[in-house]
C-alpha cells in the first residue's frame, strides 16, 4: 500500500471529500448544535432608522412563558466594549463608538435595542413583543452627498461630521496637466447599489460557558474563527485563552461572515451573565437588517487619452457608504479597490480620492470581491465609453493599452507589482470561443433591420489582487493584522496525515485541495490525508478565509510545512539506510539510496520510527511533524477576459443573456473542478448585481427590500449556461504558482453584462443604465432617448 503512493495530485479534477457529509445531511451547521439546558436568544431591533431611545422596559417579557432573562442595552453595557474596526485607513479617521446593542440612540433600522432568552425559539420570539421601547425620532441620513453638507443631520452627533475619512492616492504626472494635453477626455458617474450578500446559511451563534474554569466555547457561522477569538476577548474582556471559537460547517460567506458581529458578543455576554448555554440564529429578514451589506458607492471617473486610444490618465472620486457604524474592515474596502482602477492598463497619471460617509443604514463591509468589483466596473465601463468616443472596437482599445506579456513583472501606476500575466492570450482565447466577429455581424444586421430585439456584446478584462498579503504592506495600509497564514502537518504513527490549516472554508473545498497539495509533497495517497480547520483549539493559529487568500497563502503554507516534514524525515531515513542525506532520493513517498534502489524507506515507515523512537539519530527530536507560518512576499494577480452577449427586447426592456464566455488565468490550478465551480458561483453573483439585486431603502430609511420575497436572488432559470476556460501563467511569488479564484467571476461579470446592455442600446443614444438593469430601467432608457 505505502509503495503505491499517488503522484500528481495537484492539477487533478478530484470530486470533493467534503461532499459525503453534505449530500447525506450529516451536517454540523451552527444552528444544528444543541446542548442540555440550551436557551434561545431573540433580539428586539429598532424599527426606525434613527432615534433616541427614551425608555426600554423588558420586565413584561419576563412574565411570558419560557422566558429566563431579558436585557436592555443599558443592562448589558457594563463589560461590553465597542465592536472593533481593524482598518482605520487614515490617521484622522472618525471612529465612532459601536456598542453591540444600542444604549441611547439607534442608527439604522435593525440596530439591536433589547433581547430575551427563553427555553425555545418560539417563546423567545413571542416575548420580544412584550418589551416596551419609546423612541424619539431623529432625522435619517440617507443621501451620500447631502450627508456631507454642513447643515446635514448627523449620524454620530458627538463626531460633528458624517465624513468618516478622506483617502487620496495620487501618482505619476499631475492629472490636470495630463487633462490639458489629452486629445479626448470622458467623464462619467457610476453608482453601485447596495447588495445583500445572502449566504444561504443565515448567521448563527452558540455559546456554551463552563463556569468553574471561566471558559467559553463560541460556535459561530463565521469565516474568521481566529480573528473572532482575538476580538471577542477585546470586546468582552474574557481572557483570550478562555475562549475557544469553532466554525463548524459554514454555509457560505462571500465576505458577510468576515465579521465580528454584535450578536457574537451579546451571546457571550448573556451566557456569562446567566451561566447557561445560549443560541441565536438569525431569520433571513433579520439578517437583511443585521448582517453587513456590500457595495454602496458613487463613482465619478474620468479618463484622458489620445485620439489613437492611448490612455494618459485616470481620475477617480468616490463617495462610499459606510452605513451607521464601522465594522471590522468597512473603511478599507474601497481602499482595496483604489489599487485596482488602473487595472491592466498603462498610463501616466492616476488621481484617486475616496470619501467615506456615514448614513443611517446597515453597515457595509466586504462582499465578494470587496472593492475590486467596483473598481473594475468603473474602468471597464468607461473604457467602453472611450472606445465609443474614439470609434474604436472596445477590444481594440484595450489591446492598445494593456501591459504586454513580455513586460512582466510590471509595476502599475497604483504601485502594485504584477508578477506575471498574459492578457493577450486570455483575450484571444475568449474571442475565439465566443465567435466575436460573427456576433458583431449579427448585431449590425439586427441594427440595420431595426429589430426590436437588439444584440449587445460586452467585454470586460480585469486583474485583481488576491492573497492578502505581505504584513509590512498591510502595516503601510494601516490594516491592524498580518497577512500570514499557518499550516502544520502531523504524521500519525500509522502513516496517515493530518494537515492543520489556519484557513477556514465555507464551501471552497479546502479539505480536498489541501489534501492534494500535501499528498503530492509527502508522496502519500490523497485518501490518507485529513484536514483540520475552523477550531481555535485544534487549529490554533490562522488568519482565516477571505479575499481569495486561502490557496495562495494558506495552501502555500501547507506546501512549505510538507517540505519541512520531508526534510526531517530525510535525516532519519539517512540514518536508517546508513547513507548520507545527499545520497538519498525522495520520490512517491519513498526515500531510496541513489544507485541502489532496494535500500529504501517510505515516509510512513519513518513516521512509525518516530513513534517508537527506538533508533533515531543522536540528538534528533522524535518527530517529523512540522509547522510553517508563511508571510507572502507579494499579492497575486489573477486576470482574465469575459465576454457576454445579451438580447435586449426594446419593447419590454427584458434582457436575456445569450452567451457568456470567460477565460480566467488563475495561475496553476490545484483542482480544476473546484476552480470551475468557484468561477460559476462568482459569475452568478456578479451577474446578479448587473441585473437583479438591490437593497432598497425608502425616504425614512426603512429597508424596503427586507425579505427574500422582495430582494431578487437569481434562481436557476435566471442564469445562463457559462463557457469557462483558462489560460495559465503561474504566479512567481508562491511555490504552487497559484493566484486565487474566488472573486474573479464576480469582479469581471458585472461590467461585461452592463457593457453588453449599453452596447445593445447604443443606437438609441443610450450610454448608461443604472444597476440593476431591470426591465423597467432598460425600457425607460430606450424610451427617453427615443422621445428625445
Amino acid at each position: 500500500m505505502t509503495d503505491q503512493a499517488v503522484q500528481g495530485e495537484v492539477g487533478r479534477a478530484r470530486p470533493r471529500k467534503e461532499d459525503a457529509r453534505l449530500i447525506t445531511g450529516q451536517t454540523n451547521w451552527t444552528d444544528n448544535i444543541s446542548v442540555n439546558g440550551l436557551l434561545h436568544m431573540a433580539i428586539l431591533r429598532s424599527p426606525m432608522a434613527h432615534a433616541r431611545i427614551t425608555r426600554v422596559d423588558v420586565s413584561p417579557a419576563l412574565e411570558r412563558p419560557g422566558v429566563v432573562a431579558a436585557f436592555s442595552g443599558a443592562d448589558l453595557a457594563e463589560g461590553l466594549g465597542s465592536l472593533p474596526c481593524a482598518w482605520p485607513v487614515t490617521e484622522d479617521i472618525v471612529l465612532p463608538d459601536h456598542p453591540p446593542i444600542a444604549v441611547d440612540e439607534v442608527r439604522h433600522a435593525g440596530d439591536p435595542v433589547a433581547l430575551v432568552v427563553a427555553r425555545d425559539r418560539y417563546a423567545a420570539a413571542d416575548a420580544l413583543e412584550a418589551i416596551e421601547v419609546d423612541y424619539d425620532p431623529l432625522p435619517p441620513v440617507l443621501d451620500l452627498e447631502a450627508a456631507l453638507a454642513d447643515d446635514s443631520p448627523l449620524v454620530h452627533s458627538d463626531k460633528g461630521t458624517n465624513r468618516c475619512y478622506v483617502w487620496p492616492l495620487k501618482t505619476g504626472e499631475d492629472f490636470d496637466s495630463v487633462r490639458r494635453r489629452a486629445e479626448v477626455t470622458v467623464k462619467r458617474r457610476y453608482v453601485h447599489q447596495r447588495l445583500i450578500p445572502n449566504a444561504m446559511e443565515p448567521r448563527a451563534v452558540v455559546v456554551t460557558p463552563l463556569a468553574a474554569s471561566g471558559e467559553y466555547t463560541l460556535y459561530s457561522a463565521t469565516q474568521i474563527p481566529h480573528i473572532l477569538r482575538v476580538m471577542m476577548a477585546v470586546v468582552t474582556g474574557i481572557p483570550e485563552h478562555k475562549i475557544r471559537v469553532i466554525a463548524p460547517d459554514v454555509g457560505g460567506g462571500f465576505g458577510s461572515k468576515l465579521q465580528v458581529y454584535g450578536e457574537e458578543a451579546l451571546a457571550l455576554a448573556v451566557a456569562r451573565r446567566i451561566g447557561r448555554p445560549v443560541k441565536w440564529t438569525e431569520s433571513r429578514s433579520e439578517g437583511y437588517l443585521a448582517t453587513h451589506h456590500g457595495r454602496g458607492m458613487i463613482q465619478d471617473i474620468e479618463v484622458a487619452a489620445n485620439r489613437d486610444g492611448r490612455l494618459l490618465g485616470l481620475k477617480v472620486d468616490l463617495l462610499t457608504d459606510m452605513g451607521a457604524y464601522l465594522m471590522l474592515v468597512t473603511p478599507g474596502i474601497p481602499i482595496l479597490g483604489a489599487f485596482m482602477y488602473p487595472a491592466i492598463y498603462k498610463m501616466d497619471s492616476y488621481d484617486f480620492t475616496c470619501t467615506g460617509v456615514f448614513t443611517t443604514r446597515t453597515p457595509t463591509d466586504a462582499y465578494r470581491g470587496a472593492g475590486r468589483p467596483e473598481a473594475t466596473f468603473a474602468i471597464e465601463r468607461i473604457m467602453d465609453e472611450l472606445a465609443h468616443e474614439l470609434g474604436l472596437d472596445p477590444v481594440e482599445l484595450r489591446r492598445r493599452n494593456w501591459i504586454g506579456h513580455e513586460e512582466f513583472p510590471y509595476t502599475s501606476i497604483a504601485g502594485l507589482t504584477y508578477d506575471t500575466g498574459n492578457y493577450e492570450a486570455a483575450t484571444e482565447k475568449a474571442l475565439a470561443l465566443f465567435d466575436y466577429d460573427k456576433l458583431r455581424a449579427e448585431q449590425a444586421d439586427r441594427n440595420n433591420r431595426g429589430d426590436t430585439v437588439r444584440l449587445g456584446i460586452g467585454v470586460s478584462t480585469y486583474t485583481e489582487m488576491c492573497g492578502l498579503a505581505p504584513s509590512r504592506v498591510l502595516r503601510d495600509l494601516r490594516y491592524a493584522a498580518g497577512g500570514w497564514e499557518a499550516a502544520s502537518i502531523r504524521m500519525l504513527p500509522t502513516g496517515k496525515v493530518e494537515v492543520i490549516t489556519g484557513t477556514s472554508p465555507h464551501g471552497q473545498g479546502h479539505v480536498t485541495s489541501w489534501s492534494q497539495i500535501a499528498a503530492d509533497v509527502l508522496g502519500v495517497p490523497f485518501e490518507d490525508v485529513e484536514v483540520v480547520h475552523g477550531d481555535t483549539k485544534a487549529a490554533p493559529q490562522g488568519m482565516d478565509t477571505y479575499g481569495s487568500r486561502s490557496l495562495v497563502v494558506g495552501g502555500s503554507a501547507v506546501h512549505h510545512a510538507a517540505v519541512k516534514v520531508v526534510d526531517k524525515a530525510r535525516k532519519i531515513a539517512a540514518h536508517l539506510l546508513e547513507a548520507s542525506e545527499q545520497d538519498l532520493e525522495f520520490s512517491g513517498g519513498v526515500f531510496s539510496v541513489k544507485g541502489s534502489p532496494d535500500a529504501r524507506k517510505t515516509i510512513q515507515e519513518i513516521a512509525f520510527e518516530t513513534f517508537t523512537s527506538h533508533d533515531l539519530p543522536d540528538g534528533l527530536e522524535p518527530s517529523i511533524n512540522a509547522e510553517h507560518l508563511l508571510d507572502p512576499e507579494n499579492f497575486s494577480y489573477p486576470h482574465g477576459t469575459h465576454l457576454c452577449a445579451v438580447e435586449v427586447d426594446t419593447e419590454t426592456g427584458q434582457t436575456r443573456i445569450r452567451s457568456y464566455v470567460c477565460v480566467d488565468d488563475v495561475g496553476k490550478v490545484v483542482n480544476p473542478t473546484i476552480v470551475e465551480g468557484q468561477v460559476h458561483g462568482g459569475l452568478a453573483q456578479g451577474i446578479a448585481q448587473a441585473l437583479y439585486e438591490e437593497a432598497v431603502y425608502d425616504d425614512e430609511g426603512n429597508l424596503v427590500s427586507g425579505t427574500m420575497a422582495d430582494y431578487l436572488v437569481p434562481s436557476a432559470p435566471d442564469l445562463p449556461e457559462f463557457t469557462t476556460e483558462r489560460t495559465e501563467t503561474p504566479s512567481t511569488t508562491n511555490p504552487l504558482g497559484v493566484k486565487g479564484v474566488g472573486e474573479a467571476g464576480t469582479i469581471a461579470s458585472t461590467p461585461a453584462v452592463v457593457n453588453a446592455i449599453v452596447d445593445a442600446l447604443r443606437p438609441f443614444g443610450v450610454n448608461d443604465i443604472r444597476m440593476p438593469c431591470t426591465p423597467e430601467r432598460v425600457w425607460r432608457a430606450v424610451r427617453s432617448q427615443k422621445e428625445a
Binding site: P15, R16, E18, D19, A20, R21, L22, I23, T24, G25, Q26, T27, W29, D31, N32, S34, D120, R121, Y122, N198, A199, M200, E201, P202, D249, V250, G251, G252, F254, S283, R284, S285, H506, G507, Q508, G509, T673, I674, E676, G677, Q678, H680, G681, G682, L683, A684, Q685, T707, M708, A709, V713, S715, A716, P717, L719, E721, F722, G745
Partner: protein, 156 residues
Amino acid sequence: MTHISVKVDGTTYEDDVEPRLLLVHYLRDRLGLTGTPIGCDTSNCGACTIELDGVSVKSCSVLAVQADGSEVTTVEGLARDGELTALQRAFHEKHALQCGYCTPGMLMAARDLLREHPHPTADEIRHALEGNLCRCTGYQNIVRAVQAVSEEEVPA
C-alpha cells in the same frame, strides 16, 4: 398540544406538538433530523424542501400537525445502508455543491422532477428548481448533475 403520528425516513414518531410548530422545526428540534436546513422565513429559498407523501414541499410552509398520518422523507432518508442514490452520487461527481446548504433541498426537489419527468431538458431542470436558491454554484453543475441521472435511467 395536538397529538401527531408521522413516519419520517421509515421510523414512526408519536408526539404532542403545539399547533403552530412548523414541520421543519419539528424535524430539526424535536427529532434531531438536522439534515434539513432553514434558509429563509418567507418560503422562498427551498433549503428546507422535503418529501411529504411522495411530493416535494417546503417544510417551513407546512405545520407539523398537517403532517399527521403522513410519510416524510428527508435527505437523511435517501441513502439506504450507506448506498447513495444516483442523484447524490451525481451531485458529488459533477461538483453540484459548494457550501452544501442548499443541497438537501436541491436533492429533494430534483428527485421530484425526475420522478414526474425522467428525461428533462436543461431548461426544464432550471424551471423545476426555480424555488430552490443556491448562492454558491451558479446552478450550472446542479443542472449537469440532474441531467446525468436522467441519462443513466436509474431511479433518482
